[in-house]
């Protein structure tokens, strides 16, 4: 019989541990701003690869953008792609080594702007890769400029009075396009702002990676994310703003699941 007023030090023992940093996530200090969604997604990718026992066969394709240093943080093999060309590199890697787990990690600039052609055509060809798409509706790395996914009325450093449809066009929901392509087998949109959402996002990433290994076609996991520095909010406020505004244009859920 243990005392109900047991000391905290009695609880903190290795046999009682229920959650720890995944081993594949390096000790390197991540350069992301405090509260950035990238950190959570990196953690989920590391956890999924670890749980699948795929550390030796995983090849990640890092993008250009804030996640450019992903290869410093997750301890698997990485290729750094020129801006937007991650799906093209992933195509090559997967075709040359079909038994490897090949995934891309792309931001909204990488997938929805400069790399739209590569991304859409890789998905249309049905390459057996998984694409993780971080959509935070802004160019975080270069100083908060408007991205194709920026919402109408949203203030960025290049749309200081808010995005206007007549001047800047409409926000691009690129995963909606991908869901219509015959090459994709699984297209989903997730978020990581609450513990429940994090669990769902992890399951989605796992499914995408398994699809890639089973040769079912292209899987796309969009993570609707925050960029609290670019949005000029605190991390908690940014999460709330995302729930109130981003989810209207980018509703959470599976767009395609075959």
């Amino acid at each position: 019989m243990e005392d109900k007023h047991m000391d905290v030090q009695d609880i903190i023992k290795p046999e009682n541990r229920v959650y720890k940093k995944p081993a594949l996530l390096n000790d390197t200090h991540m350069h992301y701003c405090p509260g950035c969604s990238h950190g959570v997604v990196h953690k989920l990718v590391a956890e999924v690869i670890e749980e699948m026992g795929a550390a030796e066969i995983a090849i990640g394709i890092a993008p250009v953008g804030c996640a450019v240093f992903a290869y410093n943080y997750i301890d698997v093999d990485w290729i750094e792609a020129p801006h937007g060309r991650a799906p093209a590199l992933a195509t090559a890697a997967k075709r040359l080594q079909p038994d490897k787990l090949v995934f891309t990690y792309q931001g909204d600039g990488d997938m929805a702007a400069i790399g739209t052609a590569e991304s859409l055509h890789a998905a249309n060809r049905g390459e057996n890769i998984a694409m993780i798409f971080i959509n935070n509706a802004i160019y975080g790395m270069t100083g908060g400029q408007m991205a194709p996914t920026t919402l109408l009325g949203m203030k960025t450093s290049t749309t200081p009075y808010g995005r206007r449809a007549d001047l800047n066009g409409y926000p691009l929901a690129i995963t909606g396009l991908m869901a219509q392509l015959d090459g994709t087998c699984y297209v989903t949109r997730q978020s990581v702002e609450t513990p429940a959402a994090v669990r769902k996002a992890k399951a989605a990433i796992r499914k995408a990676f398994e699809n890639s290994m089973h040769g079912k076609g292209t899987s796309v996991v969009e993570i609707v994310s925050t960029c609290n520095s670019g949005w000029k909010m605190t991390p908690a406020d940014a999460n709330k703003w995302m729930e109130e505004n981003m989810f209207k244009k980018y509703p959470i859920g599976d767009l395609k699941n075959e």
């Binding site: 609880i11 720890k20 509260g35 959570v40 513990p195 908690a236 999460n239």
Partner: protein, 77 residues
């Protein structure tokens, strides 16, 4: 009746004081250090009410820098 007790440890040098764990905690266990900072100057998170922790891992799940380890134990009353 058995009761669940939990505890967390925070890697204070890795913590960036983003406050997301404090917001996510359903039992209001965590706070940011009001004055103390780590080597990078961030007010890191700590257990301000350790007795309330239920070991649910919510804080660790939303932590972008994976600095939280969670421990859970069943206690007989």
């Amino acid at each position: 009746m058995a009761k669940i007790r939990g505890a967390v440890t925070v890697n204070t040098e890795r913590c960036k004081g983003c406050n997301l764990c404090v917001v996510a905690c359903p039992a209001k266990v965590l706070s940011l250090q009001p004055k103390e900072v780590n080597n990078r100057g961030y007010h890191f998170a700590y257990m301000s009410a350790p007795d309330k922790c239920i070991g649910c891992s919510s804080c660790a799940l939303v932590c972008p820098d994976a600095c939280i380890e969670v421990y859970r134990v069943k206690v007989d009353e």
